[in-house]
Symmetry: C2
Subunit: 769 residues, 2 copies
């Protein structure tokens, strides 16, 4: 049984030996490099641009400006094509812009022999602007006479409301208590190891080849076609190994530009390789949210009503736009399905770096507010935080009232119990009672999460797999599911091994996507891959298994009903005897002159289900009041992601997500000057990303359920672990200090202000406690 085992990653050796080829490793001897000329203001319009001097610099091949690019606006969000208007992404982007909407906006691009020359040339470009007041804060953006950041469009990119359950107003009226709170999450960045990089060339006058570090090769192909008005079959996107994406490569950022450049330069290879600084300001960020939450709760601990009002800031361009707020908001219905709930959200343009998809896509913001508010409600009625959740969270058999679907698998209550036991909730609570005063305080916190296993019914969910038997009795598997470091190729290999009854080592995954040949799949996002691909893989493997057994029957004259595959060998089940090994069968199928053929199977599958996943995080912290510093003593995240295909790899996802959650909770924030739109910390020195020394040992555990809509019982796991650590930490700070500090990150700066405001320290930071 390959599923459930912690097998080594299929790409482990390639990666640890440095042999794995990333986009930058694909070399063309005559490749040119391109560098963006970026705006030095946050809001305005170019009145004049002079590129002559840059063009005349030795080694410069071309300079293009907003005057040279196609006029059709396009969306960049990595979504499958929507057949209905209601889910189409906002098309608000040009390849280069005259209208400047954030500091770093792309006005022109230089193509040169090498990066040195390109950087020199950038300095020679002269530009003048009409400057406008940058719109950074919601109140300024929403002001009645505020300038439209995109002329002709409202500054509100999207807005929606929903309600589910009973009448919400009535429910609030009947509630014993109503608890309110306002929450704010910060603009953070993905900080994947490999920056955005793409190159393109033409190996025919009729075809553009793009090699790119992307999560969505098939979507990139489609959008490039739309931007350049080229049939999609004339574009080929190759995705080599990818050094992380976390959603930032679920946007089509560089591909249209490198395609445009090679087309302009007669097919010559052109690469864009963003620096870290460019990557931080010029790709995507996580939307900062402003959220007001109202919770109606009964004395017995039942949450009866909830209202949430959220503002999401998408920055200069829509990118994933309002769908991030919508997706985040929808998770309320799977986490607390029994409370009457209303939700209102607006997404705003702003003169800030563009927000897009980032790990868990709106849920970290929404669930941060939700789980802080839930904690506040529990405290309001004096109920134990864990008991309060146990009473209110989703259970198997609940109906998700937004989707109308029954929750078929849910282990959240067991997750809470496991987490409570691990952290020693009862004893610690008691022990920490004496640490509620003085300079060093201690507390416990927890938060729950729910997430989905894909995007259905918002987007189409499709995956494909082709499996071919090799002459040596192994198989090669091609999938559209996109490995970006998360380990999807490995779980695909495990699934194939499981269904074929092959040794895991005998399943080889083709470790790159090439849109000309790879089965179609929309890519790596929404924690969809292992879930959606499971049914494609299962169908293809089942089909191949049948073909193998049919050929075995032809070879042996044994009735196929009496044949089986066991550990990669053909077995006569009636005699419990091995009939032949897989190599013998494969050789015959390929090389026998009259019978057999190459044995392959392919399946393309659309998922019309979407399994919710659950989890929780418990933390034990120490708060040093005078130092304004939080120390995490212990932390555990417990997840229900259905059947765990690969425990060690799944653990890796939880640990990685927890790191990222701790960063968002304690230190990460892209600091933007609210007056000028200047970004203070566009680099990894000033952007306080946690390192290994900044995070505590993290523990994880699973509550394995079996999700019947997945072929192997598995559900999403990639994104969820990032969601619950920040509210758990905020709730622990509340437990330790009695203060509701609702703005992330809980950095020394934030804590200082809060402690000062509440008199724990004095004006100068002196210790009052």
């Amino acid at each position: 049984m390959a599923v459930g085992k912690s097998v080594n990653r299929v790409d482990a050796m390639a990666k640890v030996t440095g042999r794995a080829k990333y986009t930058e490793d694909f070399y063309h001897p005559d490749m040119l490099v391109a560098k963006y000329f970026r705006s030095s203001i946050a809001h305005g319009r170019v009145t004049a641009i002079n590129t002559k001097k840059a063009e005349n610099l030795d080694g410069v091949h071309a300079v293009f400006t907003y005057k040279d690019v196609p006029e059709n606006k396009f969306p960049t969000a990595g979504h499958p094509l929507a057949l209905t208007e209601d889910h189409k992404d906002a098309a608000d982007r040009l390849l280069l812009t005259r209208d400047v909407r954030f500091m770093g906006d792309e006005i022109a691009i230089v193509v040169a022999q090498n990066e040195l020359v390109a950087n020199e040339a950038l300095k020679l470009i002269e530009v003048s602007y009409d400057e406008y007041q940058p719109l950074i804060l919601p109140e300024d953006i929403l002001e009645e006479n505020a300038r439209q950041i995109h002329e002709g469009s409202s500054n509100i990119v999207g807005e929606h409301t929903y309600t589910f359950g009973n009448d919400v107003d009535q429910a609030f009226e009947k509630a014993d208590h109503v608890v309110e709170g306002s929450f704010r999450t910060a603009m953070v960045q993905h900080c994947h190891i490999e920056n955005h990089i793409s190159h393109a060339y033409m190996d025919d006058l009729d075809k553009i080849v793009i090699v790119s570090s992307t999560q969505i090769p098939h979507i990139a192909r489609r959008i490039v076609g739309e931007v350049l008005n080229i049939p999609l079959s004339r574009i080929r996107v190759i995705k080599p190994f990818v050094g992380g994406g976390f959603g930032n490569k679920q946007d089509v950022i560089l591909e249209p530009m490198v395609a445009f450049l090679t087309l302009k330069l007669n097919g010559r290879a052109v690469q864009i390789n963003l620096s870290r600084e460019e990557c931080i300001i010029g790709t995507r960020t996580r939307h900062p949210f402003y959220i007001d939450v109202k919770t109606g709760v009964m004395n017995d601990g039942t949450i009866v009503a909830r209202h949430m009002d959220a503002i999401s800031i998408t920055g200069a361009y829509a990118s994933h736009g309002h769908s991030v707020a919508a997706a985040g908001g929808s998770k309320q219905s799977s986490l607390y399905p029994r409370a009457a709930t209303s939700f209102h959200a607006r997404t705003l343009y702003a003169n800030t770096p563009v927000a897009g998809a980032m790990r868990a896509y709106g849920s970290p913001q929404i669930i941060y507010a939700l789980e802080c508010a839930t904690e506040d409600a529990a405290r309001k009625i004096g109920m134990d935080s864990v008991e309060f959740r146990l009473k209110n969270v989703a259970r198997q058999g609940d109906i998700n009232l937004l989707s109308g679907k029954e929750i078929l698998s849910c282990g959240l209550a067991d997750c809470l119990i496991k987490g409570r036991d691990f952290i020693g909730w009862g004893e610690k609570k008691k022990e920490y009672e004496k640490f509620k005063t003085g300079p060093v305080r201690k507390g416990l916190g927890l938060a729950c999460l729910s997430y989905a296993s894909g995007t259905y019914p918002v987007c189409v969910e499709i995956a494909g797999a082709r499996i071919a038997l090799n002459q040596d009795g192994t198989v090669h598997v091609m999938v559209g599911a996109t490995e970006i470091g998360q380990g999807s190729d490995t779980v695909v290999a495990q699934m194939v091994a499981q269904t074929l009854s092959f040794p895991y080592e005998n399943v080889l995954v083709v470790q790159a996507q090439d849109t000309d040949v790879t089965p179609f799949d929309t890519g790596a996002y929404a924690s969809r891959q292992a879930y959606v691909v499971s049914n494609a893989v299962f169908r293809a493997a089942t089909d191949l298994r049948e073909k193998i057994l049919d050929h075995a029957a032809v070879m042996t004259d044994i009735d196929v009903a009496g044949l089986d595959i066991v550990d990669g060998n053909i077995v006569d089940t009636r005699k419990s005897a091995q009939v032949m090994d897989m190599k013998t069968l494969a050789i015959d199928s390929f090389y026998h002159k009259e019978r057999g053929c190459q044995l392959t199977a392919e399946a393309s599958f659309k998922a019309t289900t979407n399994a919710p996943v659950f989890g929780c995080t418990f933390v034990d912290i120490t708060v040093n009041i005078p130092l304004c510093k939080i120390k995490i003593n212990r932390m555990i995240s417990v997840h229900d992601s259905g059947v765990i295909i690969n425990p060690v790899q799944s653990g890796g996802q939880i640990h990685g997500g927890a790191f990222m959650g701790i960063g968002a909770a304690l230190s990460e924030e892209l600091l933007i000057d609210p007056k000028t739109g200047y970004i203070y910390n566009n680099n990894l020195l000033d952007y306080k990303f946690p390192t290994f020394t900044d995070v505590p040992p993290i523990h994880h555990d699973f509550v394995e359920t079996f999700e019947p809509t997945s072929a192997y019982g598995n559900k999403a796991l990639g994104e969820p672990p990032v969601i619950s650590p920040p509210p758990a930490i905020r709730n622990a700070v509340l437990d330790a200090t009695g203060l509701c500090i609702n703005s992330l990150p809980l950095s020394p700066h934030t804590l200082f202000t809060a402690f000062k405001d509440h008199g724990l320290i004095d004006e100068k930071g002196g210790d009052n406690v």
Copy 2:
């Protein structure tokens, strides 16, 4: 209808613009180059080798000798694995050898930074030999006490006899006349534009990637695995565009060595790029043949008996060995199926460059002798050469007595009539009667040919195709059939367009093979591809067509029986109305959230038939006796290759084959010193390959038959055109001069000797006529 149209090649633009990527265009920044150290003697054994100085040269990374390579001998012939012993290729080769068997044999190899350093290093290698007398001529090789060129093996690599039809001896006894002749063909070389080139690297510690200019990527993969004892799935062979092969790349020549080197050098990329000189002596050549033919003929023109005895020289190693003589010999039964025939052939080792597969694989030699002998028989009884053939050659319905199969399509008689008409046979014959004396003589000649459409039943015949519908309503086609310049990708696209009823432009062929993902096919040889792949393509395209129509039925609620595809659009046949275009259907199949999926189809097919093809060449020549020179005034080749998929491309094959045939007929020969084994003309200056100025305008025509065992009625065409020009020219020389000059090439040197021997010129070359 795409089949039968002279559409542009799918790779035309890529090639004429120089964008098509060949093996040398795949670059690795740190790639090393390897150069063979070759023997300077033709026969002997290395007694000592010192590579120290070479190893110490700056820039040299390694030197390997025969001491360092695996000890298991392997075959290099590009044949599919044979499951029975009788068809296994001779395993007589090591990666490097201590026993020297031809001048240029590979004793050691230097790996260096670049070619300059490698060449310097080669000069520093010191070697001493035990020298043996080279065995070059058949009489020396077959001498009772001749040294075994491969110790422990006979110098006779293979030998076989066959008979078909009536008792041959009796038939000779009853014949009115018996005509005998002895014929000799030369060692010639393929002279493809792109020399042999391969490189290999490891992108994992567990996997070797080989990029190679090969006709047989899947076979190369298997043989490399056998040589290095690595499972075949751990080897990946990529075939980019190929600059011709003509059979010389149907041998696994460089791939095992580059794979061995990268394995030894920790996965670093290593390239071998043979020079033209190395390619001429160190790859493969066409087997020279010595053939005796006896023909029994009746006064009415019926050939009643034939016996042929052939010696084929394979040179230092077996490579394709005796199968070339066997394959060539077998064509008698499809060309003259009604004569009682016996055949005996032996293939000999010799201390000469290695012979292997070359365009038409033994048939140019056998049919040269056969068609010269047939001409001699016609003249013996005074019958017109054309009438004599018309009486004796194969007709539809004849039984090929060797295979036992009926000839289902045969237009040879019509080919002869077309050729006769074009050349103006009757009038010219009359006109040229007055040119049979004097210094300038004129004559007409013709020769027929037959060939096969694959290797069945000798080898397995298998082809695969996968077709995927793209979102823009085009399709991508993956085939294992290997494009090497012959145009196979184009005919595949035409076949797919035909069966799908798509515009040809909407069928895109993936123009590279990658053994990890490409459907299995044994490769480009035996003129098999268009024939064998036809049924795979037809099945896959038919399957995809059905899936498309099924989806159209789902979308439209029209019964599928009333739907059809016409010119790439969905049509309601009952209303004769277009329902939607293919893009609309494709978009729905990909992106509708509940119905459809990616529409793909794949088929792997084994052919258990093998259609014979036919053709003939007519020439009109002038022989200048004092100058010993032949001028071709007109030439026409007429072919029955079933349905012609692409007339212009097929014409290209005929013209190319005729060029090659004219070269073999008039000028080409690799000259080997019979005493030392020295090769006099290992370069394209001294090896007299015809250029455009050397060949006359060539005409071609077709007699289209419909071959029912092919999905599109087509049969082989790649190799056959090379077969008939040499005997046609020899027969024309006979017509012009009355001399049977039976040794190829009919170069001035050969003609001088013949003319002198027959008194047409005197000892000093003076004109006697």
